[in-house]
């Protein structure tokens, strides 16, 4: 039984990922996606069924449930912009947030995550929202205002009072912590069973 559906998904996977390791991870990811709502997600994906999982399910995943930006993350990666994710969106999200994604890609998506009003600029109100989410509203209004002014002061290169993608890129790429801590889902899903990997790969490809 397991072999069959793995073979079916392997059609998609093989096309996209010649790398065996990635194939293995993807099949695990598919199972993670499916485990969120088994009754909604079919095992057979060859016909590209239109299945979307609502935001509540995504937001309750262990990787995301403590993250202050989980709603924005789900919105950014979902097709409809509301947080309801298809399997493709789901895979997209995990691939960008994994350790294998290149830095510039992460920076690009980070910019989109912090852009709350989706106007392709991080303006002052976006900054205020970010700060309040980070500190859970512990700072006073004056302090919040001061911090946001300072951020714009530091990072805004074209002096339009808001951060464009270049400003953000320029600033984030020098940050020492960026790759290590930000946007990294790392171990959680990528592997806990490296020992069984070879066996699984054989199952998939045969």
């Amino acid at each position: 039984m397991k072999n069959k559906h793995l073979q079916k998904i392997s059609f998609i996977i093989l096309k996209m990922f010649p790398n065996f390791k990635q194939q293995y991870f993807l099949s695990r990811l598919f199972h993670r996606y499916r485990d969120l709502a088994p009754q909604l997600v079919p095992l057979d994906y060859t016909n590209q069924p239109d299945v979307r999982l609502p935001y509540e399910l995504i937001g309750s995943m262990p990787e995301l449930k403590d993250n202050p930006f989980r709603q924005r993350i789900a919105e950014v990666f979902s097709e409809d912009g509301e947080g309801n994710m298809t399997l493709d969106d789901f895979l997209d999200m995990f691939s960008v947030l994994s350790e294998m994604a290149p830095r510039d890609l992460k920076a690009y998506y980070a910019f989109k995550i912090y852009d709350f009003n989706n106007d392709n600029f991080i303006c002052k109100s976006d900054l205020e929202k970010t700060l309040n989410k980070l500190t859970r509203n512990e700072l006073t209004e004056d302090e919040v205002r001061m911090v946001c002014e300072k951020v714009i002061d530091e990072a805004d290169l074209d002096n339009d009072g808001r951060l464009s993608l270049e400003d953000f890129q320029h600033m984030i790429v020098r940050a020492p912590d960026f790759l290590r801590e930000v946007c990294n889902f790392h171990h959680r899903f990528t592997s806990t069973m490296r020992g069984k990997m070879r066996k699984k790969i054989q199952e998939i490809t045969l």
């Binding site: 996209m16 997209d92 990072a155 320029h170």
Partner: protein, 714 residues
């Protein structure tokens, strides 16, 4: 035991056993019966094992073994390990550590060498020192044989080498850690380009999956923001310079007075304790007065300093450094006064030793004379003197060791009591009395105790300094300290979680902990000094310790070189020890230090220049984009010189053509991927960015693999 003795003992045991069996039938009063029963049982327990039967046998064998282990055959001199005769009646165990006259029955049973006095009268009388003084914890235990045992282990040499080697190793480790920290963190409060921006966008750790960790992370992010905000605000404050300077001078004057006062207090108390040493009727307070006063000063001093420091109005990070520095000075002053007083005592003991040397020689002569007088018919050597009866000198090293152990123990006690009372009891009171009190205890006055990180780290540093100083004379001190650290960790961890709130002050003294490592280094050096001084200049006791009988402690090294190493090495060392060689070597090292210092200064300057250049280039870039005039006067003049030329082409073109190559890293990374339209996007003609991830419906046919980046715009 001889045959006759055995038989006699067996008879007695039998008698006692019969008594136990028949005691019910005796027409005695209850009190008398109980007394006799107890005595008989004691007797039987003790000696039945010796006779090789009964339940007591194993216990007896264990006791004998423990005796042998404690005596440490063959690693120590027997007289040093036996309790002297005059002290036996009053000796109790571990009283050196506590000086509480507690009677511990079970200890007595396993560790006695002679009958432990079960007399409750002694509970209330003073003890002299007790068994620990003669144990492996202290210097006096070790024998001075040059080599021991089959493998010719050189005990005195190894004692000295280990003592000095500990210092050398600690020194290396501390300096290496400091160097590593200097590499990583750099200075504190450095002028970073994007402090706030990085804090905002990169502080959340996406790996967090636990609600409690998330709470802690939120709190730490908030604290970090507050710290930066205060930092920023401090930079913008106005100053009234003269008033401020006057207040600072006043504050420093007050603090110097306090330090002087505490130094004098300690000196006074030490003198008093020397008087006490001659008296006999001391209560617990008098015996421990010195240590109690020192610990109390350690508690009260910092609070006083903090109050006075409010006059100064420094930036919080600098104020914290001053505070820590003052506490450090207080501690050092106390410790050195204590040491000076200790030196007085040591000298007194050295004087005493001369008398005792003579006395012991007399004693030996007398003993032989008596022996031959009493047994005129026997020839041959008389049996050795019973160990407990040998006259022994006052072992000054052990005294010093004892003082350090007492200091450490009282430090431990004070710390634990402070936490128990100051934090735990306080938390209990605040929590439970709050229901029936007029004002809000939690928000108002007592509230919960704060966990003072810097104070605690400083306490650890001081503790370590004391251990370094004392461990040469009391090797067991290190073990005691390890136990203390282990228990203290769990204890304080519990106390923090259960009773403390985070500290109000949000600053760390230094980002890379180099400040504390600097203090540690200083204390290491200062604790090295007394030990090295005593090794080099004080003569060791004549009959106790691994260096007994030598002129100076380091003579053991000379002895080893002469006797154990091949002769050419000996001549080599004697050449190397020539002042004509050593002084130029020292000069060379001083010059090397000077050179390295100037090289590092030069690098620092070069660094600052580069930073300035980068800042200027950034400003230029900013201004150029905004079509503004250059802020740099030089550039402005140059522009004016060049006729009719605007070096600012229309913004759209400019942005369209020019790849974003900024001075410094990232330019290349941005341009690498041709797909990525990030760099060349025209802000004025931006398409809907949300489409970037591209059409998915065709799905697998799309040869753009995932993870390669958003596709080119169509």
């Amino acid at each position: 035991m001889s045959e006759g003795e055995r038989a006699r003992l067996m008879e007695e045991v039998e008698e006692k056993k019969k008594l136990i069996a028949n005691i019910r039938n005796k027409p005695w009063r209850m009190k008398r019966r109980l007394k006799h029963l107890k005595e008989a049982q004691l007797f039987v327990d003790k000696f039945e094992g010796a006779l090789g039967k009964g339940k007591g046998r194993k216990l007896y064998a264990y006791k004998v073994m423990m005796m042998k282990v404690l005596m440490g055959l063959p690693y120590g001199s027997i007289p040093r390990k036996t309790v002297p005769r005059e002290e036996q009646d009053t000796a109790m165990d571990y009283s050196v550590l506590t000086d509480f006259n507690e009677k511990k029955r079970n200890w007595c049973r396993t560790y006695t060498l002679h009958k432990c006095s079960s007399n409750f009268k002694t509970f209330f009388t003073l003890t002299h020192h007790g068994y620990c003084k003669y144990s492996v914890l202290f210097y006096g235990y070790y024998n001075n044989q040059r080599t021991i045992g089959f493998l010719k282990f050189r005990l005195p040499l190894s004692y000295l080498m280990v003592g000095i080697g500990t210092f050398g190793y600690s020194l290396m480790v501390v300096i290496r850690t400091m160097a590593k920290n200097a590499d990583v963190g750099g200075g504190d409060g450095e002028d970073s380009e994007f402090t706030f921006a990085w804090k905002m966008f990169t502080s959340w750790d996406y790996l967090i999956g636990n609600a409690e960790t998330a709470d802690n992370k939120y709190a730490s992010i908030t604290t970090s923001f507050k710290e930066s905000i205060v930092d920023e605000q401090e930079n913008q404050k106005d100053e009234n310079i003269h008033l401020r300077r006057f207040l600072r001078v006043l504050a420093n004057f007050l603090i110097t007075c306090t330090l002087g006062g505490s130094g004098y207090l300690i000196y006074f108390v030490v003198k008093r304790s020397q008087e006490f040493a001659n008296r006999d009727d001391l209560g617990w307070y008098e015996k421990n007065e010195l240590e109690i006063i020192m610990s109390l000063l350690g508690l009260v001093g910092p609070m006083l300093f903090e109050t006075i420091a409010e006059l100064e109005e420094y930036h919080p990070r600098i104020a914290l450094k001053w505070q820590l520095g003052r506490i450090f000075a207080l501690f050092l002053g106390n410790l050195y006064t204590f040491l000076l007083a200790l030196f007085d005592e040591v000298n007194a003991k050295l004087e005493e030793e001369k008398d005792i040397k003579n006395a012991s020689i007399w004693f030996m002569k007398e003993y032989f004379a008596n022996f031959t007088a009493n047994n005129p018919n026997e020839t041959g050597t008389p049996p050795p003197i019973e160990p407990a009866d040998v006259i022994r000198g006052p072992c000054w090293e052990t005294t010093v060791g004892i003082e350090f152990v007492k200091l450490t123990i009282s430090d431990i006690q004070v710390t634990y009591l402070t936490i128990l009372i100051g934090d735990f009891l306080r938390a209990l009171i605040v929590r439970f009395l709050n229901y029936c009190w007029c004002w809000d205890l939690e928000a108002g006055w007592p509230s919960y105790g704060e966990f003072d990180i810097s104070g605690n780290v400083l306490g650890l540093v001081f503790n370590q300094g004391m251990i370094w100083m004392g461990s040469f004379y009391a090797p067991g001190l290190v073990g005691i300290n390890v136990l203390r650290l282990l228990t203290s960790m769990y204890y304080q961890c519990w106390a923090v979680m259960a009773c403390n709130v985070p500290h109000e002050r949000v600053f760390k003294a230094s980002k890379s902990n180099n400040f504390y490592m600097g203090l540690l280094l200083l204390i290491l050096f200062l604790s090295l000094l007394p030990v090295v001084y005593t090794i080099m200049s004080l003569p060791p006791s004549f009959d106790c310790g691994p260096f007994s009988g030598k002129e100076r402690m380091f003579d053991v090294i000379i002895e080893t070189i002469e006797l154990d190493l091949p002769s050419f090495l000996g001549t080599l060392f004697s050449y190397a020890a020539n002042p004509g060689l050593i002084i130029p070597a020292i000069l060379l090292m001083v010059l090397a230090i000077y050179y390295l210092n100037s090289v590092s200064e030069a690098y620092k300057n070069a660094n600052n220049e580069l930073k300035k250049k980068m800042q200027m280039a950034r400003d230029e870039e900013k201004n150029r984009r905004n079509n503004k005039d250059s802020t740099n006067q030089v550039m402005k003049d140059l522009e004016d010189l060049l006729p009719n030329r605007s070096n600012l082409p229309p913004p759209e073109e400019k942005k369209g053509q020019k790849p974003k190559v900024k001075p410094g890293a990232a330019g290349n990374a941005v341009n690498l991927q041709k797909d990525v339209s990030l760099a060349s996007v025209n802000p004025n003609a931006r398409g809907p960015v949300t489409q970037a991830p591209g059409p998915r419906a065709p799905g697998p046919g799309n040869s753009r693999g995932r993870g390669q980046g958003p596709p080119p715009r169509h």
